[in-house]
Symmetry: C2
Subunit: 221 residues, 2 copies
């Protein structure tokens, strides 16, 4: 794909803002808008217009002066840029509350996420069905992946929703079956091979920033 | 509090790393360690020692050369710095899967989070009990806050776990009862008064970064 040199060293904050623009553009499309201006998007999100233009430029699409972006074209460009126009097959490990929430949430399905199976270490959960997926024992990760592979489905992503202590061994298992991306919800940093892409959802970190700011504000008053 | 000038313009990544250090320190204490060196912490998290020292310095505690940090003192300093040594009373709005996960998760309780009540717009959920909290109708936010205030409990934080479309009106309601912090899980940016501290948990943003990197890697191969 020719884009690979262009997309090197992408600014992460720009990538992070794309889903929000995408949602807005899809709403615009539902309303029947064909074109949307950069200024309009900037207004919606309280950002500078130049920032929005820069964010959107990483997808390879540029608006026309005094006209703006074609809504359809921009939606397609963002989805393609994010890889949301193709299916990503995933395993989810850890069927606690957070794991359940993710299994039940349909929002990522429209972004191509296909959770093919869910696993847990707790025998009480084995066989339970959550939104169409049966919970399997942790030690069936490799055999399940092998069976899917025979059907032509390659597990590319592991979603880790186990407690902190269990996260590294689970990640190792997932790397063992060849996943190329780990999405970690456990509050620990995972040690992974360099060729595995990695993202953490840091709930505790977010809470820390919030409470720290709240108490600093107290101190200022 | 004299610290307010010192703690201005704190580097957010440092604040975000403190919960992970805290977890490690609590484990060290459980093992019976009195002292831990900066190098040891750095090793554990694959960071440079100088970065760890800098991160910890924002709490006001510094280690002694060749000895390290006193575990107890450092735990106390981090908890106090993050405001995790005091109770933060919160309302949670939106009892879908994610809201339920947060209500059932005990991890934030030990960081002082006290979710006093949960609200939803769906009448089918009214009266349902989740981990000790009864789900109330959305229009009882103000009256519930008033009742708690009579008991001396001030609702300081609003946790927003409603769908994107409902998030802004819910946040407005929460601001209306005087919350001073909003923790937003909905995939939209909320428009809030300047004196309300704000944190978003960006699940879609995290997924976007992950899938984008995964597809870039595909393109490189």
């Amino acid at each position: 794909m020719k884009a690979s040199s262009r997309v090197r060293n992408l600014p992460t904050p720009s990538v992070q803002r794309l889903p929000v623009y995408l949602r807005f553009l899809k709403e615009a499309r539902r309303r029947g808008d064909d074109v949307v201006s950069c200024t309009r998007i900037a207004e919606e999100f309280g950002q500078r217009s130049v920032q929005v233009r820069k964010d959107l430029a990483i997808t390879g699409v540029s608006g026309r002066p005094k006209v703006g972006y074609r809504v359809d074209e921009l939606i397609e460009a963002i989805e393609s840029f994010l890889g949301w126009d193709v299916k990503t097959t995933a395993f989810l490990v850890g069927v606690g509350n957070l794991g359940r929430a993710l299994l039940n949430y349909e929002g990522f399905v429209e972004h191509g996420l296909d959770v093919a199976a869910a696993f847990d270490a707790n025998p009480a959960l084995f066989g339970q069905e959550i939104n169409g997926r049966v919970v399997r024992p942790l030690d069936q990760i490799a055999s399940t992946a092998a069976r899917l592979r025979e059907e032509g489905r390659i597990v590319e992503m592991g979603i880790v929703t186990v407690p902190a202590r269990a996260a590294q061994p689970v990640a190792d298992k997932l790397v063992g079956i060849g996943v190329r991306a780990i999405w970690n919800y456990a509050p620990v940093r995972l040690d992974l091979p360099n060729d595995v892409v990695y993202e953490e959802v840091k709930l505790s970190a977010s809470f820390a920033v919030l409470t720290n700011r709240l108490r600093r504000r107290d101190a200022d008053e």
